[in-house]
Each structure stands twice: as structure tokens, then as C-alpha cells.
Symmetry: C2
Subunit: 246 residues, 2 copies
């Protein structure tokens, strides 16, 4: 597989840095090709601005972002840093987001990578979402670290079920664009762990990476379960017996 790891941490000596190095080593040893987008090392720009569309804009006097993104993608005039990331994404079979959970979500630099790189035309288009998404056939996975315990992210934990916390990313970014989604690898509170416990977590991550082929994907209702108004058809939940991920 071609693997793209999008990495968002400013400190290589962090546990996120260790998880990154573990994943590169493990995947390469098993015959995969790994590319890394190290957002902090590249000082990646997180803000969508008019500068993204300087090549051949439709109308920068009144900025319509989807319109400009679509036009710039079709005319091949998106800014260079976006084009480079889109090329990496286009050839990836598996995309891993490696980031610390900051305020129950991604660091801004990674959110900005999504905002700018997942541009209209490239990552979504009319009629191309979810099952018919443009990244259909690709796999995606989150690897993240937290500041609090696994208990706090249990379904009845004070921070909320980790799958609820990650739902906007799993469903709204990955599944929306057509990815199949692997269960996340969550390293709870590495900042409070000693060397041995951290080493154990890195081993667990290595194991997970070696089991990707046999790991069931997260469940999302297929397009056919939704009616014309994009709400679940009556009886779908009862028939399938499968809960929504939310």
C-alpha cells in the first residue's frame, strides 16, 4: 500500500513523534511505501485566504470559497502547497492522521490542511459524497493522544464517548469523502506514563498496524438506508439492529 501520514505536532520528541516513527518503521518493514506530510516542519498554512486562488480567480471581490476552489482545481491553479498535498492524497491507499487531541479535536494546523486540501472538485462534488465519495476505495485512520484517561472517554465518561468525540472526523471528513474508516488508535494520557508503559503502547500500535487487513471497518449506514431527504428510511434501525455510530 501507499500510506500517507499527516502529522501535526510541533515537537519531534513528543509521544506523537514516537508514534509517527513507529508507524513509518512498521509499515516500511512490511513492504508499504510511506509518505509523511509533517505540517509543522513545513509551516503549513491553515487559513483559507484569497492567496489560495491567485492563479485564475472567478471573483476575489466577493469571495465564494467553494466556487473558487472548484475553479482553481479545474484550471490547475490552486496554490502550490495545496497541489502537492492533493498529489500525495491521490496516490495514497491508506491515510493516517497522527495528532494530539487538542480541545476534543485536531490541532488547527491539521484542520487547516483539511479546509484547504479537501477542496471542492478534488474531495467532494455534486452527488459525490459518502458511498459515492471521490476517495472511495481508500482507507483512513486516526492515531491520537489524549490528556485524560480512557475512563473519561468511555460511553458514560465525563468527556464523552471517544467515538462521539471523533465522529465529526470519522463521518464528516473520512466517510463523507468516501473513505472506509479503521477504528482509531488512541493513546490515553501518555504524558502521565513511564517509559515502560509508553513502550507498551508503541507495541500495541505496531500490532494494530500489522492487523489492518483483517480489521473490521467502522460501521456507517449505506446510502440505500437513507430516503430521498437523506434521513434513515423508516424501520432501518429496527431491521438492521445496528446502532448509529453517534
Amino acid at each position: 500500500m501507499n500510506v500517507l501520514i499527516v502529522y501535526a505536532h510541533p515537537e519531534p520528541a513528543s509521544f506523537n513523534g514516537a508514534l509517527l516513527r513507529t508507524s513509518i518503521e512498521t509499515l516500511e518493514q512490511n513492504g508499504h511505501t510511506v509518505a509523511v506530510s509533517d505540517l509543522y516542519a513545513n509551516d503549513f498554512e491553515p487559513r483559507i485566504t484569497r492567496a489560495d486562488f491567485q492563479g485564475k480567480a472567478v471573483n476575489l471581490d466577493v469571495l465564494n470559497i467553494p466556487q473558487e476552489q472548484n475553479n482553481a482545481f479545474e484550471t490547475n491553479t490552486l496554490s502550490f502547497d495545496i497541489q502537492r498535498e492533493q498529489e500525495r492524497l491521490a496516490t495514497a491507499d491508506l491515510v493516517i492522521f497522527q495528532f494530539p487531541l487538542w480541545w476534543f479535536s485536531m490541532p488547527a494546523i491539521l484542520k487547516g490542511w483539511i479546509d484547504r486540501v479537501f477542496s471542492r472538485g478534488f474531495a467532494y462534488a455534486a452527488g459525490r459524497k459518502y458511498d459515492t465519495g471521490l476517495f472511495h476505495g481508500k482507507l483512513a485512520m486516526i492515531c491520537t493522544t489524549t490528556g485524560t484517561s480512557a475512563d473519561t472517554y468511555a460511553p458514560d465518561g465525563i468527556d464523552g464517548d471517544i467515538l462521539t468525540v471523533l465522529w465529526p472526523i470519522h463521518n464528516g471528513i473520512f466517510r463523507y469523502t468516501g473513505f472506509d474508516v479503521l477504528p482509531p488508535f488512541v493513546a490515553y494520557m501518555p504524558g502521565r506514563l513511564d517509559f515502560q508503559e509508553r513502550t507498551y503502547l508503541l507495541e500495541k500500535y505496531k500490532e494494530k498496524l500489522l492487523e489492518i487487513d483483517s480489521t473490521p471497518h467502522l460501521f456507517f449506514h449505506p446510502k440505500n438506508d437513507y430516503g430521498p431527504n437523506e434521513r434513515l428510511k423508516p424501520g432501518v434501525l429496527a431491521r438492521s439492529g445496528v446502532q448509529r455510530n453517534t
Copy 2:
């Protein structure tokens, strides 16, 4: 009340711009004082970097963000743009986030405002979260716009319940730091609406702003409902009959 509106859209002629102007006008006419942090106009930096801690850092060779944030806050050496926002927040009784929903979350520029301004020491500290959060006594609210219909964000909609999509912000940012949280104002698909329909939405927003005092806050389980492991005590759900917001 002192109201702080944190506004994250690059185009003043957008519907977000119209919602912003409506809120300023409505709130000021009703005797409130309004401050606006216009993140795009200020070219606000979304990335936490070592530059945030140049004043009196503990150890920038190995960056430990919570440690540096805490130290810089206590020694009053956070970078100027962060200090200015923290002063605005400190005096605010109500904070409104005004943003377009991009990829089921905030634009990166607003996420970065959280990452950098909600620094350790200022926005959270040991033992100071949720009911005992540092912003206890303040109110917060989201005003956002979507690209798809209200149906898609219904509890059985394909994009997921809007309250699930916004849960990481409501619970993880607002409630975590002690805010009481007002129900969000969501303008669905303004890009597809005509002038009359948009005007109607602005009127609805105006009404909502005038009813803040009598609007019930979103429900979150109080600290006392959780046991020492920060998971709900057995029987709490059954006794209260109240579902979690997730």
C-alpha cells in the same frame, strides 16, 4: 452584558457577515456592550508554535505545550495577540462563536484561536474543569451556517444530529471550561436561499438574541453525577431520566 463575538469568515459579504452585523446591532440596541474578534481581519495566527513563548520559556529545546502555556500565563509573557484575546474573554459575560461549518467543525483560524487563547492556567488548570471550570458564570453560544439541509442534520440524518456534530465544541470547549451553553443558532444552507428567506433567518436570529435570558441552557450532567473515575454513577441515567447530549 459584555458580549464577545469571535468571528471567523474571510468575506464580509457572506451570510456569516450578515449574521455578525445583525448580532452587533441587536445586542447594542438592547444595551449590551459588544466586542468583536474578527480573526480574518486580524490575520490571526492559528498555529501554536515556540513563538508563543519567547518571553520567558522553560525549555524550548523540548517543547511541552501545557507547561510553557502555564508558565507564560503566570509570568505574563504570552505573545501579545494571545494576551489581547484573553483580556477580551476575561471581561465577557457572553461569548458567541460566529463561523461557517467547514468539514463538520470550525474553520482552522477559529480552532487555532482556541488552541492558543484557551491556554493552560488561563482556561483550565488542575481540578478546574466542567462545573468548577475557570469560566464558570459565563455564557457561550454557537451561531453557524451549513452547506446542507436541516434534514441531513436531524438525529436520523446522513450528516448526523447537529448536536452530535457540535458536541466536541459544546462539551469539550465551552462546558469543559465552565461556560453555560445556549442552544446553537444554525442557519441551514443560506447559499441556496433567496433574499427573502435569508432575511427571515436574520429575523429569527434577532429574536433568539432577544430571548437569551429566558432560554434554557443545554443539559450536561453535573459533576456530582460522576463517580471518582469520572464515569456516571450507576443508576444516574435511570434516576434522572435525562439522556446525555451525545
